[in-house]
């Protein structure tokens, strides 16, 4: 046994004992128990921390109010009531815009090649296709930003889970 005033007893320092008690180690086991039975200060501290941890552990389980319980049970039994971000289609605006852009460029390239190789009589239908593509491209350019804004403004807001 070592001098009490130095804060040491056996192989444990009082500080270490109190730290281990605060971490939740049981006071009645092993070297903690041996120290505590000989050290009045640590015995009192063990009682105080024990009371504190005992109170913290109280109410570990509380019944939610009935109305809340019923509401959550209903939600869980009816998942369609809650919009799941995972259930959204894989098709996303960014991917859609990328694919549409790539397809559009591929078509323009093919048309340019065809134009270069075509005779005068064949250029009229090619011009018609170019105009058609121009209008399709124009409508997509107008639609995709609107789709994106709608997506950002409300449909998925708050549906992501921070885990």
């Amino acid at each position: 046994m070592r001098n009490l005033r130095s804060g040491r007893m056996s192989d444990l320092r009082c500080e270490e004992v109190r730290e281990r008690l605060a971490l939740g180690e049981p006071a009645h086991e092993g070297d903690l128990s041996r120290h505590i039975t000989r050290c009045e200060g640590c015995r009192l501290e063990a009682e105080r921390i024990g009371a504190l941890l005992g109170l913290l552990a109280r109410d570990a389980e509380l019944d939610p109010p009935e109305h809340l319980d019923a509401l959550v049970r209903t939600l869980l039994a009816t998942p369609s009531l809650v919009r799941s971000p995972v259930a959204r289609p894989f098709f996303r605006p960014g991917i859609a815009a990328g694919l549409a852009g790539a397809g559009f460029l591929a078509l323009l390239t093919a048309l340019a090649v065809a134009w270069a190789q075509a005779g005068a009589a064949e250029k009229a239908p090619l011009m018609a296709i170019v105009f058609m593509l121009f209008y399709v491209g124009l409508s997509m350019t107008a639609t995709l930003p609107l789709w994106f804004l709608r997506h950002k403004l409300g449909l998925t807001r708050g549906s992501e889970v921070w885990t």
Binding site: P64, V72, L76, P85
Partner: protein, 192 residues
């Protein structure tokens, strides 16, 4: 031996609503008890409780059993949702040293029912519980969360570390600091 939670979570992940209902049954009391203590306000706890289960419902198919237990996952969602809510409330109500305590020092809603055993000590026990609730509210979020998860919900330090994304040693230090502050704040009770 397999973890029944994991079996249920796997079933729930594949769309089994009964399995999800069973998980709810297993955790509803513990989760609500945790949230009441963490928020220090029963109304907030009720709001967050509902929010947590909606998030569980939305995200259960992304739950990864290999990344940790269902309990860890659930309490992480709950902790984050609760902290988010308290921060939102703090922003709305403006700067406050103690958002849940009014000028007279009384809590707006004292939602933590607790006392020490014995009818003769009920009043004393309630007062101690009230002071404990106040002391908990004054703890930094990380310490409050860690102390409650460890000492109220009985999570291991390994689980705590996984939940908070911190090393196990840091989890222990956080809990130790939190308990030490509580111990000091409640010193007048133990000195009687």
């Amino acid at each position: 031996m397999t973890d029944p939670d994991l079996d249920l979570a796997r079933l729930a992940r594949s769309g089994d609503r009964k399995a999800l209902a069973q998980l709810y049954e297993r955790y509803r009391g513990r989760l609500f008890g945790y949230l009441v203590r963490l928020a220090g306000d029963r109304q907030i706890a009720e709001d967050v409780f509902q929010e947590v289960w909606i998030k569980v419902l939305q995200a259960i198919d992304r739950f990864e059993p290999a990344a940790g237990s269902f309990r860890t996952w659930l309490f992480r969602i709950a902790s984050n949702a609760s902290v988010d809510r308290m921060r939102r409330d703090a922003v709305r109500s403006g700067p406050a040293l103690d958002a849940r305590v009014d000028r007279t020092g009384e809590r707006r809603i004292d939602g933590v029912p607790s006392d020490l055993p014995g009818p003769e000590r009920v009043g004393e026990g309630r007062a101690f519980a009230r002071d404990l609730s106040r002391a908990l509210e004054r703890l930094p979020e990380a310490q409050r969360t860690a102390v409650l998860l460890r000492h109220q919900q009985g999570l291991s330090y390994a689980e705590l570390a996984a939940l908070l994304h911190i090393p196990e040693g840091t989890a222990k230090t956080t809990v130790h600091r939190g308990v030490k502050v509580l111990r000091e704040e409640l010193a007048e009770w133990s000195d009687e």
